[in-house]
């Protein structure tokens, strides 16, 4: 089984919350880092300005020494900032006992250097003043201890990570809770569905109690139940019908064989009984064969050995086959149109024969049957129309059901055991086609289609 919907929703909420927190946290982190950087810069710049002022405006002869003293004082006053000075003239050097800052000043591109023991990172900046008559060219550098700033940033990062995790967990928990509440109707739907069983097939889901999102599902489910119910009912009556169809020949055989055996009979009489039995057995065999055929079609067996054939030519052969029956009934057949379709000839002829036979059986003597053949984009269809009494619309879709009879009182003719049109449907199915029936204006039309791209 898949993970529960509530768990999946909770995980998705958590993932969404995590992404949100991470984006906001990232932005805040960036702002904070920029601010800290600017603050450091300001401190450094302040110090550089001071030194620069002294170097520009100092006029005393021992200017280097005095500035050195000044820097010494400043360094002592605030241990988190430091200054250095370097020049060709040794008098204008301060802090030249530290090799790293001196190297940084000379290369002019040091941004962060380590000084002291253990080495502490310092953010530094270098400035150069060109020579005046009072002094040579001087480079000087100021730096601030970067550690407090990076400590602040690290603390912020830790807090951010913890908050993100906590928020994500909270979002997951809340999401799970919300999903459970939101899925309540599904649970009720499930409980509702559990009440449906073979015992109470009429039971359906209570649609008005469902929220809008589930109403469609419920309606589809109910519709599926309706279809299953119809199929189930058809199957029930089908077994009934089969038993009935088989009962008559069986009863005949048992009865007449018993009668024959009740007294001594001569060979001729016994032969008579055997012949009669054989007729009944043939009937049984035909029913069994037809039912196997229908079952195969329903199990998804498809036509094989398809040959592209002219449907009009096939109709012609069928008319030729039933010519004598048409002749006896004084009926004629007219064929309109043609199409070429891939078909399994013997199956197709069987369907055509059943349809034409159906038309003959349900027409008055002397009537005319119209056969229409049409070609569509993806299918070809053939239909048989004959004048007949109106067939109620409730019967039309069921004409193709096994053993279905419009007139329930009509006795089985023995010739066609009510499977003729179901076989047409099976043949259509085997060619990926369908069947249709219409009845109006005193004309009944029954036909089927076959796929062209089978």
């Amino acid at each position: 089984m898949k993970n529960s919907i509530a768990v999946r929703l909770a995980l998705m909420f958590a993932a969404a919350a995590m992404v949100g927190f991470a984006l906001v946290g990232g932005a805040l982190h960036r702002v904070l880092a920029n601010e800290l950087m600017r603050h450091q810069q300001e401190q450094i710049d302040g110090r550089l300005e001071d030194i620069s002022y002294m170097l520009q405006h100092g006029r005393t002869p021992n200017l280097g020494e005095r500035i050195g003293d000044k820097l010494e004082t400043l360094n002592a006053a605030d241990p988190r900032t430091r200054s250095w000075m370097w020049s060709e003239n040794p008098a204008f050097r301060y802090g030249d006992d530290m090799p790293e800052p001196v190297a940084a000043m000379q290369s002019r591109d040091g941004v962060e250097v380590s000084v002291g023991t253990p080495p502490r990172p310092m953010r530094v900046r270098v400035r150069t003043l060109s020579a005046t008559e009072a002094r040579p060219e001087v480079r000087f550098m100021a730096g601030v201890d970067a550690e407090p700033f990076s400590d602040t940033l690290r603390a912020f990062e830790t807090a951010l990570a913890l908050l993100t995790l906590a928020g994500t967990a909270l979002a997951a928990a809340l999401g799970y809770w919300i999903a459970r509440i939101g899925l309540g109707p599904v649970q009720r739907l499930s409980a509702d569905a559990q009440r449906i069983g073979p015992g109470n097939r009429a039971q359906r889901l209570q649609l008005p109690a469902l929220p809008r999102e589930l109403a469609d599902l419920g309606a589809s489910f109910n519709a599926a139940l309706d279809r299953l119910d119809a199929a189930y009912r058809q199957l029930e009556t089908f077994s009934d019908d089969v038993a009935h169809e088989l009962r008559t020949p069986l009863a005949n055989m048992i009865g007449q064989t018993q009668v024959a055996l009740a007294r001594p009979r001569n060979a001729g009489e016994l032969q008579e009984v055997l012949q009669s039995d054989l007729e009944e057995l043939e009937r049984l065999r035909a029913i069994v064969a037809d039912m196997l055929f229908l079952a195969r079609a329903e199990q998804g067996v498809r036509a094989r050995g398809l040959v592209a054939s002219s449907i009009a030519a096939e109709v012609g052969k069928t008319v030729e086959f039933l010519d004598l029956l048409l002749d006896e009934a004084g009926m004629t057949v007219q064929v309109e149109g043609d199409a070429v379709a891939p078909i399994e000839t013997s199956l197709f002829r069987r369907a055509l024969t059943n349809l034409l036979q159906n038309a003959i059986q349900h027409s008055q003597p002397g009537a005319s049957v119209l056969v229409r053949i049409g070609q569509h984009e993806r299918s070809a269809e053939v239909s048989f129309s004959n004048p007949s009494a109106q067939i109620g619309s409730e019967h039309l879709p069921r004409l193709f059901d096994r053993f279905y009879r419009v007139d329930t009182s009509r006795r089985n003719s023995g010739e066609n055991h009510g499977l003729g049109l179901s076989i047409v449907k099976a043949v259509a199915l085997m060619h990926n086609g369908g069947v249709f029936a219409r009845s109006d204006g005193g004309v009944t039309t029954v036909g089927f289609s076959v796929a062209l791209d089978a």
Partner: protein, 228 residues
């Protein structure tokens, strides 16, 4: 005709044995796959009737080992009406197949068709009693009287005359005359026979076309008795 029947269902084997023996065939029986394979491989038969579902060794396996040595015609009998069975049987080299329940007449017809295959051209002038059927000029004459037949009536008569003395079922007749290769549930054949009978038998008082109830029709001269 020498026939081997490999069939484990006793009742079926028994009636096939009796029926074929009475038709003048020499029949051997095997009740399981092992015996069947042994006999099929070591003796010569004109045709073999082979059930698919057999104890010991199934029909397909027997067919396979048989085909690796000889080409005896084989008819497969299958209870499952599966298309797969047929296709497989025919691919493996079966010459024909019948789906159970089948009619004995149909089996007989198929056996005769198989053994007749490849034989010399049959005569084009057929005689049944005083009825002569000329297949070339498509004329039928009884005694001295020319009989007027429609094309289909002549085709039906020719089919019956070619196999005179053989009972032909309605299905076989529909297939041979109208090329309708299925159980049709129609009474077309009855009507056609009735009309043919009215032309070739009724005016002459001595019937040649007989009905065998529950089985089919047969054209033969049964001696001088009048009518049926």
């Amino acid at each position: 005709m020498k026939v081997l029947i490999v069939e484990d269902e006793r009742k079926t084997a028994d009636y096939l044995y009796q029926g074929l023996t009475e038709q003048g065939c020499a029949v051997d029986l095997a009740f399981d796959g092992i015996d069947g394979q042994h006999m099929a491989l070591h003796f010569d038969f004109d045709v073999i009737v082979l059930d698919v579902m057999l104890p010991g060794l199934d029909g397909f396996s027997i067919l396979k080992s048989l085909r690796s040595v000889k080409n005896t015609p084989v008819i497969m009998l299958t209870a499952r009406d599966g298309v797969e069975d047929r296709v497989r049987g025919l691919q493996d080299g079966a010459d024909d197949y019948l789906v159970k329940p089948f009619s004995f007449l149909e089996l007989l017809a198929r056996l005769q068709a198989l053994t007749r295959r490849g034989r010399s051209q049959e005569s084009t002038l057929l005689r049944v009693g005083d009825l002569r059927v000329d297949l070339i000029s498509r004329k039928a004459v009884r005694g001295s009287q020319r009989i007027d037949l429609t094309a289909k009536e002549f085709a039906l008569l020719a089919v019956l005359a070619r196999r005179q003395g053989e009972i032909l079922s309605k299905t076989v007749i529909a297939e041979l005359v109208w090329d309708m290769n299925f159980d049709s549930n129609t009474n077309v054949v009855e009507v056609a026979i009735k009309r043919l009978r009215a032309k070739i038998d009724a005016p002459f008082g001595h019937s040649l076309l007989h009905t065998s109830r529950g089985m089919g029709y047969v054209l033969e001269d049964r001696g001088g008795e009048a009518g049926e």
